[in-house]
């Protein structure tokens, strides 16, 4: 996508994303500690994740299985063996002062993801351990100027998968779409809860710009602290404009890491972090290479759920919903499963989609209820009554709302409220005949009158019929029957 600068020239943004995903295994990467968010500080720790002298890591096999699922989902090569390395640097968050991570032999390499028909290459996905978390006590909340720091090691050793895309992204919209698709897919395969706000999915964006039509890559900056999709979009747009401005003024872009400020809405250089680190990577001698067995690979393949992209395509095809409707349905946890369960009870897919994404979703949002606890039969029954004319569409909405809120059966509500429409032809004709007989004058006036008079009298007679039917006559049947009787 072309960006037109204030000076009127055309530019293109080039970006690759590094996405850190916390895997949702029950336990940590190398020990048996719970992998929980939000526990009391330093309660989910043991000698291993605290890096105490003498402790040794043991790879969590569930994490390997999760990585294999990711491998399947994004068409990665998963080699026979991958290797953990040590990345050496001092940081108080990091209990061993080295991070166990994968380096030149990652578990997943060369995959891809499709965004609106465009394939975004994924260079690699590798496993690594997360660090602890420091709280700097003092006025600024940052390490400079703090009087002291507190470290919580609950997060230390939590399994991370770092997914590194190729520089194939050409706009901030595409970057957002990429992350959205990544999140939806990771969620669907059950490997992460992908909550950006809790840090279980973190994005760093490499951004450079080049003149439209150029095939060279410009100098890139890495942007950190992107805590939401909005931040990602805003930061990329800001950074692209900043770089374009620099280049148009004849200056050059310095390759560096920049921090996105959500408050000031700009990126700024993290110069203090720009010391040239030498991480002295070497193979982690306390671990053996990761070599997933053929059985594990087969198991993962056999158990792969339907991926969001495939599912969207199927719902569009089978239910006749739009791309947007399908995305809305899949965008809410469990809602598509619920909708499919309703459809399985005989309801038409498109109706189910519309009701699920409007009425059911409104209820869920208002009540904070879990969609997985809803009985699919409730919506199926309501839709069936609307379709067979037992109740009107608007009555259906009321009934559904009450059924969901009160956990009642829709048919009981209809009965209680006496809502059921009279659709029996014999009953309707009997009512009409009685009304016509009792209102012979009006019938005569109708038959003799002009259009205006006919309309008036017909409205009166229709009202009388409805009154006789206590308002429950099915208007779609009642109208033609009345007309036939009046003309007859």
């Amino acid at each position: 996508m072309t960006i037109v600068s204030d000076a009127g020239s055309e530019w293109e943004l080039v970006s690759g994303l590094e996405v850190h995903v916390e895997l949702a295994s029950t336990t940590k990467l190398f020990c048996g500690c719970p992998n929980n968010f939000g526990s009391e500080p330093n309660t989910n720790i043991c000698p291993v994740c605290l890096g105490l002298p003498g402790s040794l890591p043991v790879l969590n096999e569930v994490v390997v299985e999760y990585a294999l699922r990711v491998g399947e989902a994004f068409h990665f090569d998963v080699p026979e063996r991958s290797v953990f390395h040590r990345k050496n640097y001092f940081y108080p968050d990091m209990p061993k002062d080295y991070q166990v991570t994968q380096y030149n032999e990652p578990i997943c390499s060369r995959g891809w993801l499709e965004i609106d028909g465009t394939r975004i290459g994924i260079l690699r996905a590798h496993l690594e351990e997360d660090t602890g978390k420091s709280t700097h006590v003092g006025t600024t909340g940052r390490i400079h100027g703090a009087s002291h720091s507190l470290v919580d090691y609950n997060r230390a050793g939590v399994p991370l998968l770092e997914i590194v895309s190729d520089p194939d992204i050409r706009s901030s919209e595409q970057a957002v779409a990429y992350v959205e698709e990544l999140r939806a897919t990771l969620k669907a395969i059950g490997v992460s809860d992908v909550k950006m706000e809790e840090g279980s999915l973190r994005v760093d964006a490499n951004v450079s710009v080049r003149r439209a039509g150029s095939t060279e890559f410009g100098t890139r900056c890495e942007i950190k602290n992107l805590n939401s999709l909005k931040s990602l979009r805003d930061a990329m747009d800001y950074e692209a404009r900043r770089q374009i401005l620099l280049l148009e003024e004849g200056e050059s872009v310095v390759q560096e890491t920049r921090h996105w400020s959500e408050v000031e809405l700009h990126t700024q250089s993290m110069r203090s972090k720009e010391e040239a680190y030498d991480y002295r990577y070497f193979p982690e001698p306390d671990l053996v290479p990761v070599a997933p067995t053929a059985e594990l690979r087969a198991k993962v393949r056999a158990e792969m759920p339907e991926l969001p992209a495939v599912r969207r395509a199927r719902l569009i095809e089978e239910w006749g919903v739009s791309e947007k409707e399908a995305r809305t349905l899949l965008g809410v946890d469990g809602l598509a499963d619920y909708a499919e369960a309703v459809v399985a009870l005989g309801a038409p897919g498109r109706d189910v989609t519309l009701w699920a994404t409007q009425d059911v979703l409104a209820y869920l949002n208002a009540s904070n209820a879990a969609v997985s606890l809803l009985d699919p039969a409730t919506l199926a029954d309501v839709l069936s009554m609307v379709r067979d004319g037992s109740i009107s569409r608007n009555q259906g909405k009321d009934v559904l709302a009450e059924a969901l809120a009160e956990e009642k059966r829709p048919r009981d509500i209809v009965q209680e409220r006496g809502l059921e429409q009279v659709s029996d032809e014999g009953a309707l004709i009997a009512a009409i005949d009685a009304v016509l007989a009792a209102n012979a004058d009006a019938v005569a006036e109708y038959r003799a009158g002009d259009d205006k008079m006919r309309k008036k009298k017909r409205g009166f007679l229709m009202g009388e019929c409805m009154k006789a039917l206590k308002g429950q006559g099915n208007p779609q049947l009642l109208n033609p029957l009345l007309d036939a009787r009046l003309e007859g």
């Binding site: 000698p47 605290l50 890096g51 105490l52 002298p53 003498g54 402790s55 040794l56 890591p57 043991v58 790879l59 040590r86 050496n88 001092f90 108080p92 209990p95 061993k96 002062d97 080295y98 390490i143 720091s149 470290v151 030498d278 002295r280 990577y281 070497f282 001698p285 306390d286 671990l287 053996v288």
Partner: protein, 477 residues
């Protein structure tokens, strides 16, 4: 001195109480360790309580393990819950591990009773136990001399009769060399045979815990009590291990034994030491083995490769001693300065030297020339050993080039000190097993000489058998 097996038999049969055995050893420690300094800490109260608990179990008719009531000394780089574990370094001062090493648990389950933590070269880096922040250990055979190292405290403890059994760790010879210098048996098992969980790492790919004992039979008993797969150590072997004790007396008839030329017939090996290897070979021939000389060419590069790989791993393993979480902290203006000052004051000179060496060896631009090259040498050593083992069942060499040297003799010359391990290092690089067995004394001073029997991976039972044959030829028992 009473052997471990005799103690266990007597305690199990209620001929002696474990408490009595422990008191006797504690008394000996009390009397002599002031001079020797084999122990960093003696855990008398814990040992007596454990002995009494064991006696109670035996009295109640409960089954007890093969090491019932046997006192054992633990090298002070093995984690012991609630008991100071220092690696003989100031940097771990005051730290009490919240957990026990796997071997400590296994020995306890076998009925052994820990009496204390033994002195070592700081973080097991050294060959004389002089690099201890708490002062050197002296050799019980001649207190003007070193006991060897780094497991000098454990070797001295066994030689002095403080405990019939002791545990050491061997990264480049740290069990075998002090065993040789103190006149006891010391053995490095196949890499992965004994769990490293709870052994404070020096060089992870080389470290291995192993036994010290006064004789081969007791050493076998100790190894059998602690080896085998441990799910807490990813590098632990899951194969079934060949039992040692059952075959110990089978002799060497028909075995093919090779004397490693590069570790025996070279400059720096004392004449008496070489002569001892020849006599041991003669004894084995007399017992029915076939002995020849064999070349294992790449072993000459062992020392060079070792002094890149071990420091490289150490530089990373020792990064965690940063003053943030445990041990020494020297406060300073900010966290980086606190890290630096803590490490500056907490580590001794040899440890700093190796951290610097290792950091350099792993640096960008040097990695391939140093660490990478050392790993290739390691591969060559493994290949050359494999060729030798096509023709030979086990190999033979000196354990240490010399007998015990005087305190201070090599402290000013690190390279001379490093040469102490020239015969033992190749086994660690290959991940193989080797045992040092006492064989005579030198003619001048009457100091013990050790002969080393080397085996390929998982040949642990076999080298024990050969060591037992050598021992028999000396004692005739």
């Amino acid at each position: 001195m009473t052997s471990a097996r005799e103690i266990a038999a007597a305690v199990t049969a209620r001929e002696r109480s474990a408490r009595e055995v422990i008191d006797e050893h504690l008394a000996r420690i009390d009397e002599h360790d002031g001079e020797l300094h084999a122990f960093n800490v003696v855990i008398a109260d814990e040992a007596r309580a454990a002995a009494e608990a064991l006696d109670a179990r035996i009295a109640a008719g409960e089954p007890v393990g093969p090491l019932a009531g046997v006192p054992v000394a633990l090298k002070d780089n093995l984690c012991t819950r609630g008991i100071p574990t220092t690696c003989s370094s100031r940097i771990l001062e005051g730290w009490r591990p919240p957990y026990d090493a796997t071997v400590v648990n296994r020995l306890r389950a076998a009925g052994a009773i820990a009496v204390g933590k033994t002195n070592l070269d700081e973080f097991a880096m050294g060959s004389s136990t002089e690099n201890s922040a708490f002062g050197p250990t002296r050799n019980p055979r001649d207190t003007t001399r070193v006991p060897g190292g780094s497991s000098g405290g454990s070797a001295a403890a066994v030689a002095a009769g403080f405990a019939p059994l002791a545990l050491g760790s061997d990264t480049g010879g740290s069990i075998r060399q002090p065993a040789a210098l103190c006149g006891v048996v010391g053995m490095k098992p196949t890499y992965g045979a004994v769990s490293r969980y709870g052994l404070i790492a020096f060089a992870s790919s080389l470290d291995q815990i192993g036994p010290f004992a006064a004789d081969v039979t007791d050493a076998a008993l100790l190894l059998e009590a602690m080896w085998g797969h441990d799910r807490m150590d990813s590098t632990s072997i899951s194969d079934d291990l060949v039992p040692i004790s059952a075959d110990l007396e089978r002799g060497v008839r028909g075995l093919r034994i090779g004397i490693v030329e590069e570790l025996t017939d070279v400059e720096g090996i004392a004449a008496d030491v070489r002569a001892a290897v020849e006599r041991a070979a003669g004894a084995l021939e007399a017992a029915g083995a076939k002995v020849e000389r064999v070349s294992v060419p790449a072993t000459v590069h062992g020392l060079d490769a070792y002094y890149l790989i071990a420091p490289a791993e150490a530089s990373s393993n020792l990064a965690r001693y940063d003053g943030v979480r445990y041990g020494l902290r020297c406060d300073d203006e900010d966290v980086q300065h606190m890290n630096a000052r803590t490490r500056g004051e907490g580590f001794g000179a040899e440890v700093k030297r190796r951290i610097m060496l290792g950091t350099y060896a792993l640096s960008a631009g040097y990695y391939d020339a140093y660490y990478g090259q050392a790993q290739r040498v390691r591969t060559l050593i493994i290949r050359d050993f494999a060729r030798a083992y096509e023709r030979f069942d086990v190999l033979l060499s000196p354990t240490s080039p010399t007998v015990a040297f005087e305190l201070g003799a090599k402290t000013a010359d690190p390279l001379a000190m490093y040469l102490s391990d020239v015969c033992t290092i190749p086994t660690n690089l290959a991940g193989h097993c080797a045992i040092s067995v006492p064989f005579g004394v030198d003619s001048e001073l009457g100091l013990p000489i050790g002969v080393q029997v080397l085996g390929r991976e998982l040949a642990d039972a076999l080298i024990f058998r050969v060591a037992r044959a050598i021992e028999l030829s000396v004692s005739g028992a």
